[in-house]
Amino acid sequence: MTRRAVLAGSLGIAASTATSLPFLVPRYDHDRRPARSRVAILPATQYSEKLSGVLWDALKLFNLDVTGKSVLLKPNLVDYIPEAEINTHPLLIAAAAECFRRLGAKSVTVGEGPGHQRDTQLVVQGTGLEQYLKEQRIPFVDLNRDEVVKVRLRADYSRLRDLWLPCTVLAADIIVSIPKVKTHHWSGVTLSMKNMFGVVPGVKYGWPKNLLHWHGIQQSIVDLVATVPTHFVIADAIVCMEGNGPLAGTARHLDRIVLADDPVAADATCARLMGLMPECVPHICGTAMFLGNMSSDRIEQLAAPLTYPPAPFQTVKEFGHLRARAGLAAAAVR
């Protein structure tokens, strides 16, 4: 082992330790980690009607029981900026709705509360989602303006203690997070767990949901996902965003869809696909202590193997430490 490798390894361990510092003292109700988590990485080079078939075949690998259950699809719709790869592609959302209906769901609803844009209809129309919602008669709920109930949080890292949350979210039997895979200048990454900020109602917390920022974005994500269960993840990693995300980054092809039955495993896998170290993303690290699995040896890959990109995703300077050195990342994956 070279001195350089030892130094790089030490820096990695130091960064990981610093990252997990806010989460060292347990502030959650109980350990809910599954023994093993399942992830499927699917090759998909473009957005097309074929996504439905790809998704259907992959969902069968998970043996999901959604018969008679209400399913809420939570895409990642932040704002409408033409040509920018900000939002989950509508074809993937429509494909997910079709698949869950085929699996026997009692109802499938799409719900989102955009974090930046107050005009939700503008986002739904501008992204092209409205057309698919109409064609497939899929109901849509603006979570920013839904009826709300005050809920005690099941973790207390943010010190928020409780949040008002939409009734549609609380009433759903199955919640599916469908994030757009991208970097984020405040949280490092937007993946399935950061995507859940969209269930926090703007009518109470504003646009953006600034209270969560003041209480610590990473801590707020952990408390939120500890309280609102994400039962399944379908991550849009076909065209992603790198650099100054979530709004002003640049498009980057990964040509993948990632499915998982554990949001922590999903986000750890997506981060690795991006060439980033999940051990250095505080909210992934924090949830890995009680909610799901980050470690590769507890994640079962059901489809294509996890591979590492030739170059890590670009990030803003403050999150430069997330970018894994190729050798270290390959070792971590092994």
Partner: protein
Amino acid sequence: MALEPTCLALMALRLDQYANVQVLLNDQRPDGSWGAFGDDNEGSGLTGLALLALNTAGAFPDAATRAVRWLLGTKGREANWLWKWKFRTTDTHVRFDPDKFGWPWEPGTCSWVVPTSLALLALKQSFPCCREGKVAYRIQRSVEMLQDRACPKGGWNAGNGVVYGSPMVPHFDATAIALLALRSEPRNRLIDRSLVWLERQASSCPSPWSLSWSVLALNAFDNPVAPLQHLLETFAEPDETYDTATLAVAALALDCTTSGNPFEVVV
């Protein structure tokens, strides 16, 4: 009761004898603010809108005085010296001057464009002349804040114009509401550029909420809005169901050239 649709509906029904302002009065909190909805136990950044609704509905001096008192006592967190120092020295990724502050969505958070614009409009309407002391100070500070946080090419996003070196893209409703709040200020380059942006974009706006706010702002600046009103009328398809807030603001936009624009400030 949800505050935003209630206020907009009361304003849209201002000429209707059945408009029941009592609903709004009943939900005013003891400190003078309104929560975002009935059970909300904190003052909302939409309190300015509630005061505008009261002003539109008639004279309710007690409730209005208490609302003004709350507005004057509430400010964005960046107004605190400690956070001001932080935003000047270590936390500089968002380009803004923390000396220029307005109102937050929620107490304990930063100032944002929409709550600041609504509160500014409400204060200007409540004090059409003889603005002194704290009223004059807060109006001046929030006008400066809106000018400071505009997008580089005009218009307003949710709160800031430049983040991590990247210019933000304007939003229809934030731009329109900020322009309404600045209507009585001397015309300047920012106002002109923002009006040009809004006028150009509004004709292709596909959504009734954004288009309605655009009509209200352009109307306040005496720009012709008849074509945009016609466009807005075409959105009302039989199979569409809009939420109350959107319906109300659309009604206000369609009505503003005949029955008056409740967001205008008479100086």
